[in-house]
């Protein structure tokens, strides 16, 4: 009863009204993408607000038939998977050393990694382009995967090393006494116990690579090599007068991450706040 009274109090109603307004504003663009994409161009011109009745999948069929979006989509899948894989492996090794071993330069390395997290990609993109061009690495998956992996390393090492530090130290000592080598401890204790940490990191990193635009635009300019995000930004010029078609493309662009988010919200939240809340 008191909950209901609190709900109906002026303050309670104000809070509800404010949250409803903010929630609608937050979700409206997604709704707009979906709603528009299910209309024909004519239906949309006649009424951009109404529900798409009857809904049509013509726009999605057109995009699939055109073939570019499926290619870009696969490019994004390839680039994202490879970058996340490489950076996770590299970061796991380094994070383990930083979290659980002592060596000269350990503190310096960790500080350096934290500092590198704030270096803007815009600063790196031109010298990287000039450096990779003579090696034939521009317009190749390998080139972007190398760049993305490198850019993911500072945050990944930072996050994993703080995660590894939360594992009980007794486990390491016990394994040492049993004569386990460092690599054995990493393989048989640290990695199996760090599932949640890895999932969180992979989600955050995959989202970052999937959504990245600047590097993708510069390094994959060939239409057959473009990532989905870079490709989608070219759509507006190409189909300027067909909003429902563009919105269908945009919705396809966010759908994978949206689905992941709906099923694994806690991993997104945990990963994205990992740097700030200990």
């Amino acid at each position: 009863m008191s909950a209901l009274r609190r709900f109906l109090s002026p303050a309670g109603l104000f809070k509800q009204a404010l949250m409803v307004a903010i929630a609608i504003a937050a979700i409206y663009p997604v709704y707009y993408m979906l709603e528009t994409s299910l209309k024909t161009r004519e239906a949309w011109t006649a009424d951009q607000f109404g529900l798409p009745l009857p809904p049509t999948l013509d726009n999605y069929a057109t995009l699939l038939a055109d073939g570019r979006i499926p290619v870009w989509f696969m490019n994004s899948v390839i680039v994202t998977t490879a970058s996340v894989l490489v950076s996770t492996v590299v970061a796991t090794l380094a994070a383990f050393a930083i979290a659980r071993l002592t060596f000269r330069g350990r503190t310096f390395l960790l500080r350096l990694l934290v500092a590198l997290m704030v270096v803007p990609p815009a600063v790196l993109v031109l010298p990287l382009f000039l450096g990779l061009q003579p090696l034939g690495l521009t317009n190749t998956y390998q080139g972007v995967v190398l760049i993305y992996s490198g850019m993911l390393v500072p945050f990944s090492v930072y996050m994993l090393s703080s995660f590894f530090r939360t594992l009980p130290v007794e486990l390491f000592e016990a394994a040492r006494i049993d004569g386990a080598s460092t690599m054995r401890i990493l393989r048989s204790i640290v990695v199996p116990l760090s599932g949640p940490g890895f999932i969180t990191l992979i989600v955050v990193n995959a989202m970052w690579v999937w959504n990245e635009l600047l590097i993708a635009l510069v390094f994959l300019q060939d239409d057959q090599k473009r990532t989905l995000m870079a490709g989608l930004t070219t759509m507006r010029g190409r189909y300027a007068i067909n909003e429902p078609l563009v919105m269908a493309g945009m919705f396809l662009g966010v759908l994978p991450i949206l689905l992941l988010f709906l099923f694994g919200q806690r991993f997104f939240v945990r990963g994205l706040v990992a740097g700030a809340v200990k």
Binding site: I22, L213, L214, M229, V269
Partner: protein, 300 residues
Amino acid sequence: MSAMASAIRRRSRVDVTPYLLVAPAVALILLIYGYPIVRVFIDSFLSPTAARGTTVGLANYGFVIDDPVFWKSAGNNVFLLVGVPIMTFVALVVAVILFDQIRGWRLYRTLVFTPYILAVPVIGVTFVYLYGYNGVVNEILRAVGLGGLAQDWLGSPTLVMPSILSVIIYRELGFGVMLFLARMASIREELYEAAMIDGAGWWARLRYITVPQLRTVMTFFVVIELITMLSWVFAYVYSMTGGGPAFASSVLELYIWKYAFAYRAIGIASAVAVLLLVAISVLIVVQLLVRGGESETGEE
């Protein structure tokens, strides 16, 4: 005995395992951060065109300093900083409301966070339609009889930056709410209980417990967002206006990108990149100094 001997032997030599473990990460960092940072400094003193090797001293910096478009771009980045206090405040209000677990708070939390996981280019293109002359925003204004306020939100030189800023706030707000909520969840319950016993009301608890406890995470959020506004807005601007109309919504990243890849003026792009890097570094150093001062006064 032999186990002990080998343990002694192992200890007397330097264990190379840690170095082998960090080697791949260090190599990648040298390649992706080290090399470009060194090279961008060197290139900023070289001839602005692709012809390599001619040193031009500070001529590139001179060109940049004299270029009104550079100042317009830098000014736009500075303008975006206005959004940081706004979104910090709104995020705090939303987090506090949700933390009270009002009816439906779980759903609100999910919805408020959703924009943050959407790709910036997608948000950008969608808002081009929402903010278009016959877009949703103007149609709503017309529907409620405020048609006179309908604007070409992204086509007007004076409105384009506020419009872009609103989109950035739209996306980043959820990040702030999540950060603050996560920190609030770890505030010890006894603090609130003690305050309740002392008769502290809702406002007093907010003022004297929640906000002070959130100070570190709020500082973190503010710093992240300051960095975002100065150096991570390329995708917003590129997907919404491409820097237009004319150069009204250009930002430093776009300026670098144009000089690097459209005008092929490497020296000039590098000079601006150096300036951007210096600006970010100054920001970080200032933040560290402020934080260092705080910890001396006994904060955390």
